[in-house]
């Protein structure tokens, strides 16, 4: 291919591409020279780019290039990063699953510590917990319940598949020694505030 350095189309194309803002025909002409038929070059460029990933767009009396509108979704990329649930979140999820529908105050009473808003948010973001209406008691507190996704994720046909207290005891999961060990293993970091910080820090990296 032979390149014509004086090709008006090439000149206008380069000027528009490098411009910091949309340009009027006069502004383009100031770059490419008076003798060039800028309007005709623009028509030609619009034609050349039709259907490509880039298009020439006119806004009022100004022209600029932009990515094709139907490809905007490519410019935004969702990246999934595996994250482990915090202990506060997994306990809150467990309480919700065993006691649903359950209010936040009830979850806190069972856990013995307050839970942050972030903890429930994380579980709702994960799609495992949903708001389940208000309890008709003074204050009409919101209740929470698990979702069908919760059952799917944890491989449960229904909530009745969750092991009961007797099963847990038989499995040694109610052994106070386990509890002591669990507390030991998270020593220094069991305070709710610490856990929350981690949860809320969505954009850590």
């Amino acid at each position: 291919m032979t390149i014509d350095p004086d090709d008006p189309v090439r000149a206008v194309e380069a000027v528009l591409f490098a411009a910091e803002e949309p340009l009027t025909i006069d502004m383009i002409r100031a770059h490419v020279g008076e003798e060039i038929d800028v309007r005709r070059a623009l028509d030609r460029i619009a034609e050349d780019y039709a259907g490509r990933g880039i298009e020439l767009v006119r806004r009022g009396d100004r022209w600029h290039f932009q990515t094709a509108g139907d490809l905007a979704h490519l410019l935004r990329r969702d990246r999934e990063e595996p994250r482990k649930l915090s202990r506060a979140a997994i306990e809150t999820l467990a309480i919700t699953a065993y006691h649903e529908p359950v209010t936040r105050a009830e979850i806190e009473a069972i856990r013995g510590v307050q839970i942050s808003k972030g903890t429930l948010d994380v579980l709702m973001e994960a799609g495992w917990v949903r708001p389940a209406g208000r309890r008709e008691t003074p204050g009409r507190p919101l209740t929470f319940a698990t979702t069908p996704e919760f059952l799917t994720h944890f491989g449960l046909a229904s909530r009745r598949d969750l092991p009961g207290i007797d099963d847990l005891r038989a499995a040694g999961l109610l052994d106070p020694i386990d509890l002591a060990m669990a507390e030991l293993s998270v020593a220094g970091g069991t305070d709710e505030g610490g856990e929350e910080q981690v949860e809320n820090d969505g954009d850590r990296d």
Partner: protein
């Protein structure tokens, strides 16, 4: 070398050190650097320095050190060769020529680099790109085991705890009061408190019975139904019913 020397260097010609000066002189020979005459170059350098000195200009120390080295090289090249000396003067001359070539090559390369089509000067990238965005989404992970283990732990934490004291045989104060009171009524003489205790008993119960019987004895004395006698601390404690008590 200090700052004053640098200033002076600039004052002479603006050479960037002896090698820079040597390269400029070598290029003035107007031949390929591979063909330069090292002897001629040495002469040029020495006369340049000498010229500066006759003008009573101070010459920076590194130029003088180079001059001394070149003077040595010159004499070594001219004198009959001593095979004992390594490296040979020819080798040294070749290395010097190589160094000049290297510097020259890099100087050219720098100029050629800067003359390329450079971004922002000759070629342009898009000035106002839409930009690409990466939205990070957490994919929360938890296993069923984590879930039930957590629930187990909550339960273990909250399970009510009972403090159960093992059954132990004790003599209550009421029982002791009844027993001591009855036995006192059957006796006339002073008797030790131990003689009021039940027979054949284990240690724990005996201690309990002794303590309760002692309190019972004090209670009976307070009510005027018994008299107590003890010669000294830790001496045997004796009890006897009062006449009044007997009569009552």
């Amino acid at each position: 070398m200090d700052a004053a020397d640098d200033t002076l260097t600039l004052d002479i010609e603006g050479w960037e050190g002896p090698l820079d000066l040597l390269l400029a002189l070598a290029r003035s020979q107007k031949v390929d650097l591979k063909q330069i005459s090292i002897l001629q170059l040495v002469e040029q350098y020495l006369s340049y320095i000498e010229h500066a000195r006759t003008l009573k200009l101070e010459v920076a120390a590194d130029y003088l050190v180079m001059a001394a080295w070149l003077a040595y090289l010159k004499s070594a090249l001219l004198l009959p060769r001593d095979p004992e000396i390594e490296p040979s003067p020819e080798e040294l001359a070749l290395r010097l020529q190589m160094r000049l070539e290297r510097l020259n090559a890099m100087r050219d390369a720098g100029a050629r680099l800067l003359a390329r089509d450079r971004i922002g000067r000759d070629v342009f990238r898009r000035a106002a790109p839409e930009g690409l965005r990466t939205v990070r989404k957490a994919q929360w992970q938890a296993e069923i085991y984590d879930l039930i283990a957590a629930y187990g732990q909550i339960n273990a934490r909250n399970r009510p705890v009972f403090h159960v004291v093992h059954d132990r045989l004790v003599m209550t104060l009421d029982a002791a009061l009844e027993r001591v009171s009855r036995l006192l009524g059957e006796r006339i003489e002073w008797a030790t408190i131990e003689s009021f205790l039940p027979d054949s008993l284990d240690g724990a119960f005996r201690k309990s019975a002794l303590a309760s019987s002692f309190v019972a004895a004090l209670e009976l004395a307070r009510m005027g139904k018994a008299e107590l006698r003890q010669k000294s601390a830790f001496a045997p404690l004796y009890l006897k019913a009062t006449g009044q008590g007997m009569e009552a």
